[in-house]
């Protein structure tokens, strides 16, 4: 029995070590995390979701959406991009110079060299930092997902299988609520080869009353309900769409930097 006790104690110690490393450790490091500043800005991140979007997260959970969708954009690293901000006095020469130079996917030193060449020709440039990797190239996000993105999520739905596309930035990528509703009701009506099951049970097909409902879906040919009927989203569908539209992890942070492209106001 002495032998047995030693085995028991050592197994106890190992499970305790594992628990300390993967339960206690992360909780001590991240459990009290607060909002963080957005790079080069006075804003803080993340903002908590509004109520309807929070309800939508529960619809997302209840329907097991995470079985097919991830919410974690990956990136391979960062690269520099040289952007011309002013052509200076001799635009034609700068234009010719630019045609000979590689402006994207540069290391910091290369970017500096390119900037120097353009500056010597009289042009003004900015160096942008951009994330690189297949997910970024697909437009799923501007940077990789980080712990801060999920600070206010309860439950955190990271997912592990990409049967469908990543949704970490779907609110930025597909911001049209009507498109999202159509896609939920009949995925093939908007994405021809979609494998996603239709979530018709989140909608109600009902007889049109005195006037058509303002909420009724404007379905394309082949997906319309019988004449005299309309398809309206149930509250769950609206909440789910509100949640999806609230997904945009697209601000630069200390641990995930990039240069945001500011669109000049007209």
């Amino acid at each position: 029995m002495k032998n047995g006790f030693v085995i028991f104690l050592a197994a106890f110690a190992m499970i305790f070590t594992s628990w300390s490393a993967f339960v206690l450790g992360p909780q001590l490091q991240l459990g009290r995390e607060k909002q963080v500043p957005v790079l080069n800005s006075t804003e803080v991140y993340p903002r908590s979701r509004h109520g309807e979007a929070n309800q939508g997260l529960q619809v997302y959970r209840a329907n097991g959406c995470a079985a097919c969708h991830t919410e974690q954009v990956q990136q391979d690293g960062v690269a520099c991009e040289v952007v011309l901000s002013s052509a200076g006095k001799n635009p034609a020469a700068i234009s010719n110079l630019l045609a000979t130079l590689n402006l994207r996917g540069l290391s910091q030193a290369d970017a500096q060299a390119v900037s120097d060449k353009i500056a010597a020709g009289g042009g003004k440039v900015e160096t942008h930092i951009v994330a690189v990797g297949p997910d970024i190239a697909r437009g799923w996000g501007l940077r990789h997902s980080v712990a801060e993105d999920f600070l206010y999520d309860n439950v955190v739905q990271l997912g592990s299988l990409r049967i469908g596309p990543d949704l970490a930035g779907v609110g930025t990528r597909l911001p049209d609520a009507n498109w999202q509703l159509l896609h939920l009701y009949a995925p093939k009506s908007v994405v021809k080869d979609s494998l996603m099951p239709p979530f018709r049970y989140l909608f109600e097909t009902r007889k049109i009353g005195d006037a058509p409902s303002a909420d009724a879906l404007n379905l394309p040919q082949g997906f319309t309900p019988p004449a005299g009927y309309e398809v309206v989203p149930k509250p769950e569908a609206k909440e789910l769409v509100a949640y999806l539209l609230s997904l945009h992890a697209d601000v630069p942070l200390y641990d995930a930097p990039f240069t945001p492209v500011v669109v000049a106001k007209p």
Partner: protein, 475 residues
Amino acid sequence: MTVNETQTNKIDASCRVPLLVLFGGAAAWLVVGSLLALLASLTFHMPDKFGDCPWGTYGHLQPAADDALLYGFCIPAGLGVALWIFARLGQTPLRGALVPVVAAHLWHLGVLVGLVGIFVGDSTGFAWLEFPRGGSALLFFSYLLLGLWALMNFSGRRDSGMFPSHWFLVAALFLFPWIYSAANILIVGWPVRGVVQAVIAWWFGNNLVFVWTSLVGLGTAFYFLPKFSGRPLQTYFYALFAFWTLLFFGSMRGVPSGAPVPAWLPTLSSLNSLMLIIPVIAIVIIGWKTVVGAAGQECKGGSFCMVKFGFVAFILSALLLIAQSCPVIGRLTQFTWFGPAQTQLQLYGFFAITMFGAIYHILPRAVGIEFAFPKLIRVQHWLAMLGIFILVASLAVGGVEQGMKLNDPAVAFGDSTKAMLMFLRVSTTGLLFILLANLLFALNIFVMILAWKWSLVKTVFAFVISPLNKAEVKA
């Protein structure tokens, strides 16, 4: 072993009722699980057909199928086999069989509550932890009862020797309550903030799906392989080494690389995954030295074959797991079907098939009735092997294909999904074979339970009428 046959029979018989309840329920959930998995796979063939009811979508069917296999079959089957191995190795009949019987009923009730919870939308949303509170509380309570009972019988054993199987099984008994309570309290009960939830869920999933099943499956194999091959386990020290390294490296992993968490977590996970090659090599040596060339029983599609197949499947599954944590391969296989392929190999190819072998050996001895369809055992073995091979091969190869397309931004995302379709259709065939195998398994188990109940009725009937006859004779 110098104990006479009556003693052995007594030990086997003492486990009879708990084992029938544990294995009977497990067989039922096994069929339910494989049916759900088949339905889930069919949603890829005709996604349009399942849109009118919530429970018909992949997001409900797949978690339910996984949980029915893991919680419905794997855990009760493993606990039943552990109870019997403890009784046999300790040369002690199981005492107070009522407690495990009640606990086993509670366990199966917990699985039912949990599965219904998933279908009505009460899933917790974390892989392997989907059961809502009601179900998981029942599971935890009944596991405590079963585990404590097994440990009490273990510590009250007559033969006080410690065998390698003991270490593996005792550690597993102990592991589950710890990880299950920690995960449920910190994710479901009083949720922690942010991604810590995901880290705990990964830790839990790995410890249950990989470590728990490995401990119980290997503990079972280390009991049966020497028994069938007629050669003692080669050797005690390799087994001890494999035990420690498996428990140490195996339990400290689970966070995928690239996860949105501090980098030390995925790094530590990958490192420990790679180190798993150490116990795997030790386990290969144990299997090789114990089985190859031994002049024991011949494997004729029975228990021995199944345990051997399960053992090989474990090694393959562990190698796939290790491969995924190599940076080059991991980058290719992340977010693809490669991961599910490894999980299925671990849960079904290794664990379930090892359990089939053990149960086919144990039940006739415990109940005292032979299986009604002994020939079907061989058919079941072949169907299960074929099914799991088709399933795992198609998903793993398809996963690599999908990964190459996902990693090439020039390929549209839709094409990466379309490339998977052919592999998914092949995998459905595998699931069909698995369902058939499971039905045959359940058939043998259920007929045995019926035969046992019928013999009970006959005994009671004989008991009722026999004194009457005597009284009549006296009168």
